[in-house]
């Protein structure tokens, strides 16, 4: 049963991605989604953790309901960020969708072992990229129950 404060509350998504074109495409795809959402982006692993711990310039940000995480990031690698999130008692329940160009078996196995919720490779083709993000939106925002 939704409380009055839940009605109209958007789903907060944190995207950890250093490629601005990928950020733009994702924003476009999510805007067309059925569920009201708000996308926050950070471009490196250190900012990702500062955001999640609500420190420094990120004191007033909300806790995200979903994280889209690239693996190859400056400052702190996405693999390390994942490990820190999933080892943190407060943060580990937030679903993390790995969204990366890497198809390396080692990355796939290692991130699932680190409790990434799922692993999606980014298509090179723009149209396919949009399809993938829309599928993520459909599944994770419309079908799945997120911890909130």
């Amino acid at each position: 049963m939704l409380s009055m404060s839940d009605i109209g509350k958007p789903i907060f998504i944190l995207m950890v991605e250093d490629n601005p074109a990928d950020v733009r495409l994702t924003q476009e795809a999510l805007k067309e989604g059925k569920v009201h959402n708000h996308l926050y982006t950070v471009e490196n692993g250190e900012d990702a953790l500062d955001f999640l711990k609500q420190r420094g310039e990120f004191e007033d940000v909300p806790r995200p309901d979903l994280i889209l995480l690239d693996l190859n990031l400056p400052k702190k690698d996405g693999r390390e960020v994942l490990e820190e999130i999933k080892n943190d008692r407060e943060l580990r329940s937030i679903p993390v969708v790995i969204l990366t160009t890497s198809k390396a078996e080692e990355d796939i196995l290692r991130t699932y072992n680190l409790h990434a919720n799922c692993y999606v490779t980014k298509p090179v083709d723009l149209d396919e990229f949009m399809i993938v993000v829309k599928s993520i939106e459909n599944f994770w925002l419309q079908i799945v129950k997120l911890p909130r």
């Binding site: 196995l109 919720n117 993520i136 599944f139 129950k145």
Partner: protein, 152 residues
């Protein structure tokens, strides 16, 4: 994308729900092989290939009901996600409960995602379609990575 027939382990004690789930998945043309176990103890034996289950394959995906006899779904989830060999297998919690506490706790135990079972068959078919679309076409399963590695 998975080219081999996908193996799904369904951990569900209600025979009507088993039937509903398998039928809902079969409505779409994609083919899966379903393995079903009806309680938490059988689930763990299946995954550890013990007793009658010595020759079963490793599932590509697990659908887990939380309300199970003998060992409940939360315990099964905790065991899977603590086991070095099993923890990588994606677990979709598929259960009647809509309670925040169950949702939060499942994610805390590293469930990959949580879906509330619809009652209506058409809704169930739609859910099955989106599970297959996302997990078998969009996402890469750890079992696919394993196969790639073995084929090198």
């Amino acid at each position: 994308m998975v080219t081999n027939r996908c193996k799904i382990l369904l951990i569900e004690d209600n025979p009507a729900d088993v039937r509903l789930t398998v039928e809902a998945f079969r409505e779409n043309h994609f083919d899966e092989t379903f393995y079903t176990v009806k309680d938490g103890v059988e689930a763990i034996m299946f995954l550890r290939k013990q007793g009658a289950y010595s020759d079963v394959p490793v599932p590509d995906l697990i659908l887990l009901d939380l309300n199970l006899p003998k060992k409940n779904g939360r315990e099964v989830l905790a065991e899977i996600k603590h086991d070095p060999e099993l923890k990588r297998i994606p677990v979709v919690v598929l259960t009647t409960s809509n309670a925040d506490e169950d949702i939060e706790r499942s994610y805390d135990l590293h469930a990959n995602c949580y879906i509330t079972k619809p009652v209506d068959l058409d809704d169930f078919i739609y859910i099955a379609k989106t599970i297959k679309e996302f997990w078998f076409r969009i996402a890469i399963l750890p079992s696919e990575a394993g196969e790639c590695y073995l084929n090198i």
